[in-house]
């Protein structure tokens, strides 16, 4: 029997979608998983162990090798720039990263301020278009920042655009497309290559 494979999964909606994909790909997993407060789920039939983590933490577990593979959003991967292999675009939880602000406004000329959960992505984007900005890092409710005058723009995830509209904001620039990716630890990718390649090729067939 091959050694156990540990898969780091983001809690919540992405977990359910990704879990369904694995079932579709023919992995023998129980139809219903009890998503109580458990952080670890053992699947002895497949010799797989799931660990459930905050989406932002999945690449951390994978980079340090305590999880062999994981499912992480492209936004998190772009923000953290961790040393993990990006193997497959699962094309689930699609959205994009954009800048947004109050309608018909210009950025402050002297010190434009950007509020965001993604300081690195925001910094790199504005650097790339030749604009020096000041970053204000927030942890949630980013839309508040332009409304109450904390920042000129926000950089955040947009899926339907509803949150922006409801808060009177408009999208300015499309920065990057985001979807969930299958990632692997560099050592696991070599030492458990056959198992990981098999998961990749089975998932590849059902990616829409």
């Amino acid at each position: 029997m091959s050694s156990e494979l540990t898969i780091a999964m983001p809690k919540g909606r992405i977990f359910e979608e990704a879990y369904q994909m694995l079932i579709e790909a023919g992995f023998k997993l129980p139809e219903e998983v009890e998503m109580s407060r458990k952080l670890m789920i053992e699947i002895p039939e497949e010799n797989i162990r799931f660990i459930l983590a905050k989406p932002m933490d999945v690449p951390v577990y994978v980079e340090h090798g305590v999880a062999d593979i994981g499912i992480a959003g492209k936004d998190v991967l772009m923000e953290q720039q961790r040393n993990v292999h990006e193997l497959l675009d699962l094309k689930i939880s699609k959205c994009h990263i954009a800048s947004a602000g109050l309608p018909n406004t210009q950025m402050d000329e002297i010190a434009p301020r950007i509020a965001t959960k993604y300081p690195n992505i925001a910094m790199n984007y504005y650097k790339g278009i030749g604009e020096q900005v000041e970053i204000i890092e927030l942890n949630g409710s980013i839309e508040l920042a332009p409304m109450i005058g904390l920042a000129d723009r926000i950089v955040d995830i947009v899926s339907t655009g509803r949150t922006l509209r409801e808060n009177g904001l408009v999208e300015y620039e499309h920065i990057a497309d985001v979807s969930s990716r299958l990632i692997a630890n560099p050592v696991s990718y070599r030492m458990k290559n056959e198992r990981i390649q098999e998961i990749v090729s089975r998932l590849k067939k059902i990616v829409k």
């Binding site: 050694s3 980079e63 340090h64 090798g65 305590v66 040393n83 993990v84 292999h85 990006e86 193997l87 497959l88 675009d89 990716r181 630890n185 560099p186 050592v187 696991s188 990718y189 070599r190 030492m191 290559n193 390649q197």
Partner: protein, 387 residues
């Protein structure tokens, strides 16, 4: 800025306590034996080097260098790797005396401090360099030495993944229209971002034959069954021929079970020109070490004789080394003031028999029981006499 507490060390620095020290020392000794028995000579270079020479030539990117300024105003670096200083010594001096050179080292190297745990700013490295031999046999010797080292260290589950920088460069060059496209693709492979690679190929708007060839290449190269499968992607066959030869040598020496080939393997180190490889072992989430042919680095130092080598990180080695209990007799001789000479005599006798002997004055002890608990045998001279 919080004030520094008494117990704190600078960020990224570690103490080594006796148990870990012994474990590291055993690994270093095994390395020393393996390297020396294969004819490699150990050397040492200074901890500090000039930024303008070693710092700039090193493969470690600028932001990871630990920089200082000397009293003349020159920028110095704490050596970020050993290959670059050894190349400096070899090209400026040693190569005039002997060629090819076989050199070995075991030393600490330094990287800029990082906030996250598991990224020490100072760590040990040991490795070898063969300088002045461009043949495939030198590369084979490096790989065989790496495998032998892993075996002698008692690591059961390990793997060397071998690629070729030249072959990859030619393939990417042939199937792209511009140099910048080739570099984007190469960098995506350094990050091992296969998703990004496919996306970039689609975005470049290449002729369909080229785009398809790249996508097929990436697919086939990551599931490689034999080196011959790569031949259809290259026009010049010399790199592939070289790898076939190398593979044959590895097979002949019966090491193929430890080795796999991956032609997408790429390094941020641009001075790797030919064969390159990484060493992986179960137990650590990070690669143990890497190596390859770095003729490009010698060019930077004005020499064109070619060089190849590899190095292993000692701190990561500790995570994968098998647990071994070393059977060692430790004796504690407790003595009263008047028995000091007697204690020393007994100690020498026992040491000759191979024991580690501690002589301890009873007066100097605060808690006899706690102290003596740590020894495999305790001799109390005053009690000996009573018997």
């Amino acid at each position: 800025m919080s004030s520094i507490k008494k117990f704190e060390k600078p960020l990224g620095m570690r103490d080594t306590f006796p148990r870990i020290y012994e474990k590291m020392e055993r690994a270093r000794q095994i390395g020393r034996q393996v390297f020396r028995s294969r004819g490699f000579d150990f050397i040492e270079t200074p901890t500090l080097e000039y930024y303008d020479t070693v710092g700039k030539a090193s493969a470690i990117s600028d932001s990871f260098l630990f920089k200082l300024v000397d009293s003349q105003g020159n920028t110095l670096v704490l050596r970020p790797d050993m290959t670059t200083p050894i190349t400096r010594v070899a090209t400026s001096k040693l190569l005039k005396e002997k060629i090819p050179l076989r050199l070995a080292y075991s030393a600490n190297v330094f990287r800029a401090q990082q906030m996250e745990g598991g990224r020490p700013a100072e760590f040990g490295q040991m490795g070898i360099e063969i300088i002045g031999d461009k043949t495939v046999f030198a590369d084979a010797e490096v790989i065989i030495t790496a495998v032998q080292l892993m075996k002698e260290l008692g690591i059961e589950s390990f793997k060397l993944t071998i690629g070729h920088a030249g072959v990859l460069h030619d393939i990417l060059d042939d199937y792209t229209d511009h140099d910048y496209q080739r570099e984007i693709l190469r960098n995506l492979l350094v990050e091992r971002n296969y998703v990004g690679f496919e996306e970039a190929v689609h975005e470049f708007d290449l002729p369909a034959t080229k785009a398809n060839a790249l996508l097929e290449f990436i697919n086939e190269a990551t599931n490689l069954s034999s080196i011959e499968d790569m031949e259809k992607y290259v026009r010049k066959n010399d790199g592939i021929e070289y790898m076939k030869q190398l593979s044959k040598l590895i097979d002949a020496y019966d090491l193929s079970q430890y080795v796999s080939f991956d032609f997408t393997l790429s390094s941020h180190m641009s001075y790797y020109t030919g064969m390159l490889f990484e060493v992986f072992a179960s137990g650590s989430g990070f690669p143990l070490g890497n190596g390859g042919r770095y003729d490009g680095l010698l060019h930077l130092f004005g020499s064109d004789v070619g060089a190849t080598g590899f190095s292993i990180r000692i701190d990561r080695l500790l995570e994968v080394l098998p647990k071994e209990e070393v059977e060692e007799e430790t004796v504690c001789i407790l003595f009263d003031d008047e028995d000091f000479i007697k204690a020393l005599d007994l100690a020498s006798t026992l040491r000759e028999q191979g024991a580690r002997v501690t002589v301890q004055s009873k007066k100097g002890l605060m808690n006899k029981e706690a102290f003596t608990k740590l020894f495999s045998r305790v001799v109390d001279l005053s009690q000996e006499e009573a018997q």
